[in-house]
């Protein structure tokens, strides 16, 4: 897998460096078509599984565009992390929840939501594209954080991450730990006693009462909800005469 990926990246990089304009343009056109088709598929698919697979298609297209712009390491990471981990996580959750069935996307619960959304997005897109025509995108000084040529992409990226961006890099480690802890806390079932009857039975068990060391009838029963257990009532009734 890794060898195939490396071969693909090397081949694509060599095609970039051969400076054939039509190769670049053709690659861009095919990748852009794949990206847009996948994106439209994500939005328009009725089945969430189809949406996830279309998302994989879009992510691969983005990876090709990364290679085309000499960001080969990011292309590999894009394929491995996004298409390999995140989409698998999506598919796992879809299958786990059992929502992999067709959804009626023709129903429109909020009246006028879709025309409004389409209008807003079209307005924003037109504004951005017009801005791209009239504005100068790249007016900043080049080489702020280091050049991107002269060395292999991975070397440059590694140097930059471990020198200039060391603190954010460490902060991402903390972020990932927090995310893992949050996911565990969310996935854990709530620790409330769903069956208080079992607790009462456990407390009434004389063996457990002895191991707890205290008086078996007073101390452990304090945190039990005030629902009388039938066996308790029977025991008191029997003990009364």
């Amino acid at each position: 897998m890794t060898g195939v990926l490396g071969a693909v990246i090397t081949a694509a990089t060599t095609t970039v460096t051969t400076q054939h304009s039509w190769v670049d343009v053709g690659t861009f056109a095919v990748a852009a078509a794949i990206v847009l088709a996948g994106a439209i598929g994500v939005v328009a698919a009725r089945n969430p599984v189809h949406s996830a697979l279309m998302l994989v298609m879009t992510l691969f297209g983005i990876a090709v565009l990364f290679v085309l712009q000499r960001a080969s390491f990011l292309a590999a990471v894009q394929v491995i992390v996004y298409a390999g981990a995140i989409v698998v996580l999506f598919l796992f959750v879809i299958m786990f929840l059992g929502v992999d069935r067709e959804e009626n996307i023709a129903a429109e619960p909020l009246r006028g939501q879709r025309p409004l959304a389409i209008g807003l997005v079209a307005l924003g897109t037109t504004g951005l594209l017009l801005l791209g025509q009239v504005a100068h995108w790249t007016t900043g000084a080049p080489h702020v954080a280091g050049t991107d040529v002269g060395e292999p992409n991975v070397n440059l990226l590694g140097k930059s991450v471990y020198t200039t961006y060391l603190f954010p890099f460490e902060a991402t480690a903390a972020l990932l730990i927090i995310a893992v802890v949050g996911a565990v806390a969310l996935a854990r079932r709530p620790p409330v006693a769903t069956n208080p009857v079992d607790e009462v039975d456990a407390v009434d068990d004389p063996a457990i009462g002895d191991t707890s060391g205290g008086t078996p009838d007073a101390a452990p029963v304090t945190d039990v909800p005030a629902v009388p257990h039938p066996s308790d009532a029977d025991a008191h009734e029997e003990a009364r005469p």
């Binding site: 343009v25 994500v42 949406s51 879709r114 959304a117 995108w137 790249t138 702020v144 991107d148 996911a183």
Partner: protein, 101 residues
């Protein structure tokens, strides 16, 4: 280097628009998450394009960080989705109004 960067930027604008449209009109929470990923990828494409245009490695480093944040976001978001689905089956975004005043 033969492709005009405007093409990449235009593509990422359209990709971002499609993602935003999906977040706005879809009701399935998982599909909305996927559309958020589309928007993140559009931003990543913009970063890489500017990194190439300005010959600056910082754009690619930023994409690296965006990838990490996207992974964390997906983990927490899908955990929330699983927690919601455990409480009620067949939840769409319209059903999640527990915090409505």
């Amino acid at each position: 280097m033969t492709i005009n960067p405007d093409w990449y930027l235009g593509l990422s604008v359209v990709l971002f628009a499609i993602g935003a449209l999906g977040v706005l009109i879809r009701r399935n929470v998982l599909v909305m998450f996927m559309c958020v990923e589309l928007m993140l990828n559009a931003a990543n494409l913009t970063f890489v394009t500017f990194a190439r245009t300005l010959h600056d490695i910082g754009g690619q480093v930023l994409v690296f960080f965006v990838l990490v944040v996207a992974a964390a976001e997906v983990v927490v978001g899908l955990g929330i989705v699983v927690a919601i689905f455990r409480r009620r089956a067949n939840a769409t975004a319209d059903d999640l109004h527990l915090m409505k005043g």
